[in-house]
Structure formats: C-alpha cells, structure tokens
Symmetry: C2
Subunit: 303 residues, 2 copies
C-alpha cells in the first residue's frame, strides 16, 4: 500500500522545483521530505525523482504524481459532501494546460462559472496548442485545451469549437513590405512572429495558402498579447485570432493581408476519466461556453 | 582555433531543441550536425550538450553559445559597414530576456525605434523579473530587463525606471472577500494570483504592507494579461501594474484595496560589454523610453 504522505512529498518536490521549497510548503524539515521520497523509492524498488536542480520526476514518478492528483481531487469532493460547512473555507486546486491564445481570449471567462461554483484554484500551465496534451500525458495537469482529436488512453475528449486566424499587419507595414502582395520575394524578407520553435502554424499557412515553402525572418515572442502588440507596432505581420483583433481591424489599425484566407484551429477539452464531479462540471462549463462563443467547426477556405 | 561551424551547430541544436530541427535550419543532414558537435567536443575534451530530448547545453556549452552569439552580432555589424547594400535584405537577430509585465506594457513600444533602425529580429525570452538575469548569465540572451542592480562581470547595467503595482480587485470581489478590509482571516481565504512558484511579490507585499505572513490561496497563471483578465473576471485579487490598469480603475471596474500602499519595482537593462553598436543603440533606446515613460525612481509608501 502506498503511503499518501510519500506521494504528497513527491508531488510537492516536483511542483515547487526543489526539496527545500517542498519542505516549506508541507511544513516539514527537508530531511523528512527526503526520507519520505526514499521510502517510496525503496517500496517501489526504483527512483521516482532525479536529485538535480530542478528535480525531474522519472516516468514512474510522473505516473505516481498523476495518481496522487486524481486521488486528492476525489478526496476533496468526498469531504465536501460529508461536511460542507467545514470545507467552505477550502479550495480545490485543479491544474490545467491551456494554449496561450485560448488563455488570452476565452478561457478564463469560460471557466469562471465552474471556478465559482466549486471554489477552484486553477493552476494554469501554458504551452503551444499542439503540446498541452503532453502536459496531461506526463501527469502535470488533469485536463487541457488541445488540438489533438483523439483521447488519451484512460482519458476523454470533447470538441469545444474552433478559433479562426487571419494574416494581419498594419496598413503601413503592408504598404512597405507587401506593395505587390505576398510574393515569394516579399515573404522572404518581411518579418513574421513565431511563438516558439514549436510553432508551425505560420509556415504551414504560407505553404497551404500561398505555396511558399522558403525561409522567412521571424521574431520569437512567447506571448499571445505580444503578438498583437508587436503587429500593432508595425514591426511584423502574423496570424492572429479573430477573437483578439476584431476591434483593431474594424478601426483600420490592422488589415487582412489575404482576404478570404484563414486558418481554423479546432480545440478539444481533454481530461482523465476519474469520476470526479468537479472535473465533469469544469468540462461541461467549458463545452457550453465553447458552443456559444467559438466557431462550430474548423473550415477550410474555399480558395 | 574553434571552427565557427561547430559553434553554429551547437547553437542551432539548443535553439531548436533538437538535432533534427537544427539540421533543417542549417540545411545540413542530421549526421553532419552531430559530427560538428562531436568535433567540437573532441577539440575541447569535454561534452557541450546532452543527448537528451530536448538537448541541454553543459556549462561549457552555454559559454560557447554566448560567445558565438556575441561574435555573430559583431560580424553582422561589420558586414553592414562593409557592404550596406548587400545586407539591406538581412536582419540581425538579438535575443533578449524580458519580464512578463514589461513585455505586456512598455517593452515592445520602447524597442521599436532600435528594431527599425537596425533591422533587428528580437528573440524574446520571458521569465520572472528576478530571473531574467539568469538567462543572460547562462548565455541565452545578450541583454535583459531585470530587477538586479549590480552588473554581471563583463556586463553593464543602466536604470530604466520603476513600475508601480497596486493591490486591485473588482468592487464585487472586494465586497465579498474583504467586507472588513484586508484582515488576516480574509487574506487567508481570498484567492490571489501568482505568476509561478518563483513569484514572491505578493507574499512580500502582504508582509510589508499588512504584516501578514500566513498562507493564502492562489491561482497560478504564467501570463501578465491573464492576471488582469482573471482579476477583471472577479476570480481573484492581485498586484497589477499601474501601466496596465489605469483604464479599468478610472472606469470603476477595479478598485484599489489598499489606497496609499503600493510596490515599486525598479527595472534595469543589463547587457554584455562586447562593443556592439547595435546593442549600445538598443540600450540607449530603452533607456530614453524608460526615462520618459517609467517612474524616475522606486519609492516606498509613506505608511
């Protein structure tokens, strides 16, 4: 039988990125934390976390942390049922993975009803939309907004809706860099923006909409609002979510460089199937918001 | 003598987080990239990068990458002087570390004149303001916005100005969680927001302004705009930069929970002293903007 205190120590060490901070959080000495983790490792006959800075869980460690988070969530729900008055001052911590554009547009507003109804504290991890899934698979989050259409084994997934992206720039940037439109020569020298080295949406758009497969200069800017600001400042052009830019477009501050072309990104809510009321309610809340506020499906441009 | 192609391969592997992507970027085969890195390691007699996914540079590898970036910057400036016409279509890539709040408020507007004058492509890394310095020390960036007041050895630093933070919430949140003000009992149960586990500004503010040293529930949200949005949604209260919130405050959407109390964060621009015209110009541009738009000094509240 696994002692829950071992798992609590392991989870704290990984969450807090260190044995000392974990000890602080658990109000224990550092040697007590180390001892609990050593006992866990002896019980299992294998290491669960590296002694590096920051400590990294082993594959077994990740599965244990994920298990611990799920058990905690179910336990907190049970306690809420047994003694609602006693638990009123307490919160349930839920870790979720969200892509930066969803966080910058709809996610917080969508999650609010579930956050308030269940007194949730969200622990939000941000990553590229094609990688939030990995956070869930690794046990870092119990659910995520992802572009992946297939549920993980032991998980479920629901379609939330699609976000549409247009290729935008200021009128001045467009006049200076694209006087003859988005020609290959102009694309090779006009600065774009990439979120990170994992961000392929821009190059895929240039390939699918324009048949352009060459290199292009780019800023790297890991911030959704940074994309918008950098574009509004006239330093670059990029694909921006319709949800963030309708105001700037109708005010004439940004123009669509390729009217009739766009990218629709379908978004799915994934979560582990653990029979948690809180997780189910969060999923319902997000799905209802998505159906009312996101696009009902990802569409291809006609061209 | 170090072959610059070795350093180029090492830098690409780390920047692109993989040998395969590095090979793509350099238009080489993956085995050519591996061979260059092996040659570098044989020349130095020590490893420069781990064969993990993603590859991590060793301490020696980090210093080599930093050296390579500085040499590239000086070389690009030299080429710009020698053949201005030929380099007109090319850009100079400059990696900088910026704290999330500066990026969300003043940084891009401040950097724009230097970006346009020198045809820069910014490669922006975002971290907590107390940690951008580490990005520079590790050789990941050539300059950074930091709270550190002392220059690194071989580096220089300039005061940019201070950003002021007020403790804000919606009127409804304030009425619900702080009906009797920011009492210890209320602080122990009202949700705050932390940027990450490295973020101490909130707990330091509660200690200095209110003498409160206890625990408090918190969302974790690694996004400056996310802080504002989560607060506007009435899910939490937090310290927010004046530069982001004057509109919401004067519209009555947010209220100051502790009028007369604030936190001023002094910001410094750090960069390596490498005799680069571009780096000097970027520093001048940021300093001039800071003097005109940030607070001239960090002040303590009178209380």
């Amino acid at each position: 039988m696994l002692d829950p205190r071992w798992l609590e120590a392991l989870t704290a060490v990984v969450d807090e990125s260190g044995f000392d901070r974990a000890a602080q959080r658990l109000c224990l000495t550092q040697s007590a934390v180390s001892q609990r983790i050593r006992q866990l490792e002896e019980h299992l006959g294998q290491p669960v976390v590296s002694r590096t800075q920051p400590p990294e869980p082993t594959p077994a460690g990740r599965r244990l942390i994920q298990h611990h988070r799920q058990m905690r969530l179910l336990e907190q729900e049970l306690l809420g049922t047994l003694a609602p008055a006693a638990s009123e001052a307490s919160y349930t911590r839920v870790s979720v993975g969200v892509n930066a554009d969803s966080l910058a547009t709809w996610f917080l507003e969508a999650a609010r009803p579930a956050v308030e109804a269940h007194r949730l504290l969200l622990d939000i991890r941000v990553d590229d939309q094609d990688y939030t899934h990995a956070l869930m698979r690794d046990g870092d989050v119990i659910g995520c907004v992802s572009t992946q259409t297939v549920p993980l084994q032991g998980g479920e997934c629901r379609f939330l809706g699609a976000m549409r992206y247009h290729c935008l720039a200021t009128p001045a940037f467009s006049a200076r860099h694209f006087p003859h439109g988005l020609t290959a020569a102009a694309l090779a020298s006009a600065p774009a923006i990439l979120y990170s080295h994992k961000d392929d949406i821009h190059s895929e758009f240039l390939a699918s909409a324009l048949g352009y497969h060459g290199p292009f200069p780019s800023f790297r800017l890991p911030s959704a609002q940074g994309f918008l600001e950098c574009t509004l400042q006239g330093m670059a052009y990029c694909l921006l979510p319709e949800m963030m830019t309708t105001g700037a477009c109708s005010a004439g501050r940004l123009v669509d460089l390729l009217p009739g072309q766009w990218v629709d990104i379908g978004l799915y809510w994934h979560q582990w199937r653990i029979g948690s009321q809180v997780a189910a309610s969060l999923a319902d809340t997000l799905e209802a918001y998505g159906r009312a506020n996101l696009r009902p499906s990802a569409e291809q441009p006609a061209g």
